[in-house]
């Protein structure tokens, strides 16, 4: 996870030897979901990776949540209202809501949890910086005062980091080793050796007990996950939005949906020659975007710009005039994850295409963790990443380019963009805010700090035994597993014998 954008490496293959799990016979079948990585943290305010967010969303609940089509619905909140000036939000909590340990969920817990998100230890603080004050009026009423009216704030609260934790338990130093939430599934164990997280259905879940009684989240690579799926030992490969034509789909269900994500090649303005605007612009138009998309991700959606389709700002198109510019003499290195299934082919294609246009480009396939480290330390000249969104508003992605944002991967500093983003956040009028967004995006596109490759289309594979699997157009993080069920006549849990 990178500031402003959730960076997910979608097709990673973490190189470890799969320890096929051996599941003892149990009274009820377990739902086995393969994940590309165990969560790096189970603390919602420190979740910077999609794996952590996906697991967190199963264990924890927030005040609000997203429906599959991104409608904001009440989770722990029964109802909510916004004051006329848009600065005061009042939430009424549901009755009979409990944490996994049986304690009732109160407004004080929600106040405590949101204040944690604003604390110095929080890595998601930037999402909550519009908050002025949080106070619980009584056990079931929470009031949030904002510094300025910020319409997307409800989306922030429906996001995967705005989770409610039990106030009197979090101080326990071992709390996040065995976390307690109020989500659909109760954490039971993390087996580091087997790389598995075991969850069970929370019987007092406020929306009704989940239909899956047990869930196993199993870390594995894409290749291994596909093998396990073919042998009927895994129910769910949703962590890997596969290519539509993958032969695995002949063995299970294919559930397809767009997701709010953009694959980009980020350009670091601190690294020459990308410190020069014209060079960045020429590089941006030189990358064989269409060829890349059609060759490697043919069912993805063409990217008009940085913001994914279907979100305000996605329609911004900027034609860059680069006819009088020549490629620089310096070599340019693009870092791409080594774990990409066809990484070598990608390397060859990009290098060949750029060389033919006079560029000296080298594509380096490097391990995911090194890429991440270089990203956070802003060591790469250019890098291939997927930008996911935590809430469906262009503001989320635009934050990446604020001058004072430590997660500004491009190092871009543009006071106009800063002003536009600041003004847009304080603007309640939808059309007016849209104008600011578009102008900011136009400036970002002209700055040429991203080469927008495509918007992926998720093709989720689930076993034929899986029912009620409904994708979420924001991200697989928000898939509602409390409604997912296993067909009674399916026994996929003859799973994996070692």
């Amino acid at each position: 996870m990178f500031s402003g954008g959730r960076l997910l490496f979608l097709v990673i293959a973490i190189g470890f030897i799969i320890q096929s799990p051996s599941y003892a016979q149990s009274p009820s079948p377990a739902y086995v979901k393969a994940i590309y990585s165990l969560p790096l943290s189970l603390d919602p305010i420190k979740m910077n990776d999609t794996a952590s967010l996906a697991v967190g969303n199963l264990i924890y609940d927030g005040l609000l949540k997203f429906s599959p089509s991104l409608k904001i619905e009440g989770a722990l909140a029964e109802s909510w209202s916004t004051s006329k000036d848009g600065k005061t939000l009042t939430f009424k909590l549901k009755k009979n809501i409990y944490f996994h340990n049986g304690d009732p969920v109160t407004a004080a817990d929600a106040e405590f949890s949101l204040k944690r998100a604003l604390s110095s230890e929080s890595t998601v603080r930037k999402f909550y910086d519009s908050i002025k004050e949080i106070r619980s009026v009584n056990d079931s009423t929470l009031v949030i005062e904002l510094n300025f009216p910020f319409p997307p704030f409800l989306s922030v609260l429906a996001g995967a980091t705005a989770k409610v934790l039990p106030k009197n338990k979090v101080s326990d130093p071992n709390f996040f080793s065995s976390p307690i939430g109020s989500g659909a599934f109760r954490f039971t164990s993390l087996d580091s050796k087997k790389k598995e997280i075991n969850l069970v259905a929370f019987e007092k879940y406020h929306s009704g007990m989940p239909k899956i009684s047990r869930m196993i989240l199993k870390e594995t690579t894409e290749d291994e996950a596909l093998k396990l799926a073919r042998t009927g030992k895994i129910h769910d490969l949703a962590n890997w939005p596969l290519t539509e034509s993958d032969s695995i789909f002949s063995l299970g269900k294919k559930i397809s949906s767009p997701v709010a994500s953009t694959w980009i090649i980020g350009l670091n303005t601190h690294k020459a020659p990308f410190n020069k605007l014209k060079i960045r612009q020429l590089f941006k138009v030189s990358i064989p975007v269409d060829e890349f998309r059609k060759t490697f991700y043919p069912d993805s959606i063409k990217a008009n710009g940085y913001v994914p389709n279907g979100l305000t700002g996605s329609q911004v198109k900027v034609e860059l005039k680069v006819s009088d510019i020549r490629p620089p003499k310096e070599k340019i290195t693009i870092a791409i994850p080594r774990e990409l299934a066809r990484g070598q082919e990608m390397k060859e294609m990009i290098e060949k295409a750029m060389t033919s246009k006079g560029w000296k480009v080298e594509v380096n396939l490097i391990p995911w963790d090194q890429l991440m480290e270089g990203y956070s330390k802003k060591l790469h000249q250019a890098f291939l990443v997927a930008m996911n969104m935590d809430y469906p508003d262009a503001d989320f992605l635009l934050k990446n380019f604020e001058s004072d944002n430590p997660d500004n991967f491009s190092g871009l500093k543009n006071s106009k963009i800063d002003l536009l983003l600041k003004t847009s956040r304080a603007t309640q009028d939808r059309k007016q805010r849209e104008t600011y967004y578009k102008e900011a995006l136009r400036l970002i596109e002209e700055s040429a700090v991203t080469v927008n490759l495509f918007h992926p289309r998720a093709n989720y594979w689930v076993s034929k035994c899986v029912q009620n699997f409904i994708p979420n157009i924001l991200s697989d993080v928000y898939i509602d597993y409390s409604k997912v069920a296993l067909a009674s006549d399916c026994e996929t849990n003859k799973v994996v014998q070692q």
């Binding site: 409608k71 559930i255 959606i301 279907g310 939808r430 059309k431 157009i473």
Partner: protein, 453 residues
């Protein structure tokens, strides 16, 4: 040919038209209602999409898919349909599935287009172009895809409802029509009853008939009846005159012989050429002949003094039974047996006079009978024969005409003579004959022969 009532005839004649018109009207009315319902339903969908078009256009311009999905979901719930919004023929938002987003829109196959509405095998597709401020947003459309069967269910329901209602109204109307026909034909029944009454009882009083034509018929029947009665009276008068004339003629004829005999006896009594014995016998015969003539005249006078005959077409058996009953109340020692070939024999007769004639014959028979009298009624071609027989000694056949003429003298002071003479007169007045025969029972047998209608 089987006859039927006028009501049934009218009702059955109207039935085919009534049903055909009812069904046709029901189909047309229900079809009209169903068509209006379907058109209204689909037009509502289209109008809803059109009214939301400016807002949808704004959201498309903003590329605000989450909000569009919410709006389309609301439209879908309101219209119970799937709603798809396309841009450049690619699905931008859809209420039915997230999977089709950003894919080429596959429009359901339709086979007929009605205005702006396409009908397919399983759905109805209403297409609306997205417009903003009167200007069409290029290649942006909203498709409202309604499942055909549920959409048609309500239409079909309305069709059936309207059809059933129309049929029920038609049935009610038919029932009322039947009542109306019955009511309309009531004057006919009244007329019929009145004509019957006129014929049987001569009853002419009635309520006024409201139908002019029927009133005219009734008046015509009434005047005809009156004319017939008058004609009958005239005929009876003429007949009475003729009977009277005939009686006089018979009297004159019957008196001819005794008077001639009287003249001859008077001539012999004074004919000195005759011997004394002859003269004496002749002289002695003169008072006897004079008595006979006097008796005959007296009997004829009595017969002529009787009330004039009034012939009516009635059952003669009833008349005979009345006579037997009358006689039986007087006689308990001798049996009277009766046999009738038919219980209903209509003969024109005057029941009072004929009963008197029968009673006369029965009384004579009882008086003469040893133990039994038998009455039988036979029908023979155009005649009705009433026989009264007894098992007595019988009569001298040579003297029967004398008795029939009223000249005979019985041991009952001319009673029988007067009875037979009267009976003969009555039978003749009816145009019949009174015939004497020896009875198979050993006594007398008198036959009354009357003409049958």
């Amino acid at each position: 040919m089987k006859s039927m009532s006028l009501f049934k005839h009218v009702n059955s004649s109207l039935n085919p038209y009534r049903w055909a018109i009812s069904v046709l009207a029901a189909v047309l009315i229900s079809g009209l209602f169903a068509g209006i319902s379907l058109e209204s339903r689909l037009d509502t969908d289209k109008k809803m999409a059109e009214s939301l078009a400016p807002y949808l256009a704004t959201l498309i311009e903003s590329s605000d898919r989450p909000e569009l999905l919410r709006v389309l979901q609301s439209i879908a719930e309101a219209t119970k349909s799937d709603v798809v919004l396309t841009q450049d023929e690619t699905v931008f938002a859809s209420s039915r599935s997230l999977e089709e987003l950003d894919r080429k829109f596959i429009k359901p196959k339709t086979f007929v287009r009605f205005f702006d509405i396409d009908f397919g095998n399983n759905e109805i597709v209403t297409t609306t172009n997205i417009k903003k401020s009167g200007q069409s947003l290029e290649d942006s459309k909203v498709y409202i895809i309604s499942p055909l069967l549920p959409s048609m269910e309500s239409t079909l329901g309305i069709f059936l409802g309207a059809f059933v209602a129309s049929i029920l109204i038609s049935l009610f109307s038919a029932r009322q029509m039947r009542k109306a026909i019955k009511k309309a034909l009531r004057p006919m029944d009244q007329l019929h009853a009145e004509i019957e009454g006129m014929i049987t009882d001569g009853h002419l009083e009635s309520e006024p008939i409201q139908i002019r034509e029927l009133e005219e018929i009734r008046n015509t029947v009434r005047s005809t009846k009156t004319a017939l009665d008058n004609a009958k009276d005239q005929l009876a008068e003429t007949k009475a005159k003729k009977l009277s004339s005939d009686a006089y003629k018979r009297l004159i004829h019957d008196l001819h012989n005794p008077v001639s005999a009287l003249r001859q006896m008077a001539s012999l009594a004074h004919d000195e050429t005759q011997d004394l014995e002859t003269q004496t016998e002749a002289a002695n015969s003169i008072p006897r002949l004079a008595d006979q003539i006097l008796s005959q005249v007296t009997s004829a006078k009595k017969n002529l003094e009787q009330e004039p005959i009034a012939l009516r077409d009635l059952n003669i058996v009833d008349c005979i039974k009345d006579g037997i009953r009358q006689v039986q109340t007087l006689e308990n020692f001798k049996s009277i047996s009766a046999s009738f070939q038919d219980e209903h024999i209509t003969v024109p007769h005057d029941p009072l006079l004929l009963k008197r004639a029968i009673v006369n014959l029965l009384e004579n028979g009882i008086e003469a009978a040893k133990s039994r009298v038998r009455v039988s009624v036979l029908r023979n071609d155009n005649n009705t024969i009433i026989k009264v027989c007894d098992d007595g000694a019988g009569m001298d056949e040579t003297k029967v005409p004398v008795y029939l003429q009223g000249r005979g003298q019985s041991g009952k002071a001319n009673r029988q003579a007067f009875g037979l003479s009267s009976t003969n007169h009555i039978v003749r007045s009816h145009g019949g004959k009174l015939i004497y025969r020896k009875s198979d029972l050993g006594g007398s047998s008198f036959e009354i022969r009357l003409g049958v209608i």
